[in-house]
Amino acid sequence: MTIQDAEVRELGRLLTDVSTEGMSHLEEVQADLAQTRLLLTEAIERLSAGFSALHAAVAEQGDAAQALQRGAGAADCARLHAAGADIEQQVRAMVTALQFEDMTSQLITHAGRRVAGLRSILAGMAAGARELAAGDLAQMGRLRETLAMQSRELDGQLMRSVEQHHMESGDITLF
C-alpha cells in the first residue's frame, strides 16, 4: 500500500466517523421531536375532550339550576350536584393534560442543546479540515479522536430526563 492509499483510507475512516456520529446525534434529535409530537397530540386530544365534556356539564348544570328556579324537585338537585361533580372531574383531567408544556419544553430544549453541540463539533471539524487541506495529514487521526471524544461528552451532558410518552399521571413514592 502506498502512502497515498493509506491517507485515502484514513480519510475514508474519518468521513465515516463524521457521518456515523452526526447521524447518531440527529437520530436522538428526531427521537426528542417524535416524543414531543406524541405528548402534544395526546395533550391536545385530552384538552379537546375535556373542553367538550366541560361544556356539556356546564350546560347541564345551567338546565338543572333553571329547573330548580321553576320549583322542580329532588331529581333536579341531584342533576345539579352530578353536573358539579362532573365539572370538577373534567377540570382535574385538564390540569393533568395542561402539564404537557413543561415536558415538551424540556424535550425541545434537550433537542436544541444537542443540535448546538453537534454544530460545535462540526465547526471544530471544519477548522481541522482547513489544516488538513493545507497539508497537515496528521490532522486526520487527531480529528477522529477529537470527534469521538466530543461526541461522547455531548452524550454525557444530555442524559434524557423526560421518558413519558403519554400524559397519564406518574408514580408516587413516599420514602
Binding site: 382535574r92 390540569v95 393533568t96 395542561l98 415536558m103 424540556q106 413519558q164 408516587i172
Partner: protein
Amino acid sequence: MAKTILAVDDSGSLRQMLVFTLKAAGYQVTEAVDGRDGLDKAKQKHFDLVLTDQNMPNMDGLTLIRSLRALPAYSRVPILMLTTESSDEMKNKGRTAGATGWLVKPFDPNRLTEVVRKVIG
C-alpha cells in the same frame, strides 16, 4: 391557619397548575422559579412543605434538598420531589439527599392532594 407550601419549578405553567390544585385544597402556596429562588424564600419564611422540580437552572432540586436539610429549620420539614425523572437511580439520589417522597410528572390533582394531606395534614 392554612398550611404553607413552597412550590419550586422553572416552568410557569406547571407552577400555575400546582397553585390552582393546592389552593383549591386549602393550602397557601408560594412560588419559586428555581432552586436558588426556592432556597432564598425558604430562608425568609418557614414553610410546612416544599415541593420541588429536579431539572432547573441556577440550582437543581437535589441540591436544593441538600441545602434545605442543612438548615435546622428544615431538617424535618417534608420535601417532595415532583419531576419528569422516574429512574430508580434518581429516586435513590433523592432519598439519599433527604427527600420525603418522589412524584413523577404529570401529576393528578386528586393524588397530589392526597399525598400532601398525608404528609402535612
